[in-house]
Subunit: 169 residues, 2 copies
């Protein structure tokens, strides 16, 4: 049981670091976006959710006797990707940014799916409950982005093809 | 229309580079996995699909007068993540590897969703058809991984907690 609990605690720490990276990415994206107000609004909504998720994860980590720390190896690399996604300024950044958001949300979905299974295996009902509360917020954000991606792509292409219209953000 | 076509061609090149990275990641993972045969088998199946996708994308790129090239900026970073995911050897690599596969599949899902919209906007029916053929393969792989993730997590935790049993791969 000790090994299981340690794995659970490690993964909760990874999740907390992931949500800190999510916060940075969302803040950077919301700040950059100018011509796509619906996207900015949805990002700002999810930023609020993300801050709540950080608090929930922190309390679970502390209840298990740990404290939040930086992410290790793979998660660290994934975070770096999130950081890059937040700082993008290429000519198609609105489309690539939406793709990155969707990808990052799916990292979160997989992380909480594994965490729920781990919390169940350990018998940590409170952590299970926390992760089951967070997961639908990530699913909703991922779904919103994917549903709006075709229209956003068309809008970007139209703006990009028009003379004297900024398209990228 | 020229700008639109150039965007489409750029994104097709990104997709081709992405599938080359997918191939490397899948090969590396299939080679490492020892104690989770169902996962290895599904990865090998998707590797075959990935090779077919590369051929389809290459023919679309060439039809538009281009040639495959390396990925740029964001996609390049995402590829690096895939490369890291393929080469992972941490203590929980089977779980982190499954999460990475799921994340990478979702990068592919978002990429083809945007590409389908772009092909429609340009009126390139053949590219649209190609991407609509590839997308369900990515969705099926992503769904398989997510559905099996809870059981895989439990299995990993049990093996990890047992004495003298290798759990990580």
């Amino acid at each position: 049981m000790t090994e299981m609990k340690e794995n659970l605690l490690d993964w909760l720490r990874d999740a907390h670091a992931m949500e800190e990276q999510a916060e940075q990415m969302l803040r950077a994206q919301a700040k950059r976006i100018e011509h796509y107000p619906a996207v900015r609004q949805r990002i700002e909504q999810h930023l609020e959710e993300t801050l709540g998720q950080q608090r929930l994860l922190k309390s679970s980590i502390e209840r298990l006797g740990g404290s939040p720390s930086t992410a290790k190896d793979l998660m660290g690399r994934m975070m770096a990707f999130g950081q890059a996604a937040g700082g993008m300024t290429n000519s198609d950044e609105i489309v690539k940014g939406a793709i990155s958001s969707y990808v990052f949300e799916n990292l979160e979905i997989a992380t909480y799916t594994a965490l729920i299974a781990a919390a169940k295996a350990v018998g940590d009902i409170e952590t299970q409950r926390v992760c089951e509360q967070i997961l639908p917020q990530e699913q909703a954000m991922a779904q919103w982005v994917l549903e709006h991606l075709p229209q956003l792509t068309e809008e970007f292409l139209s703006r990009d093809a028009a003379p004297n219209v900024e398209a990228k953000r």
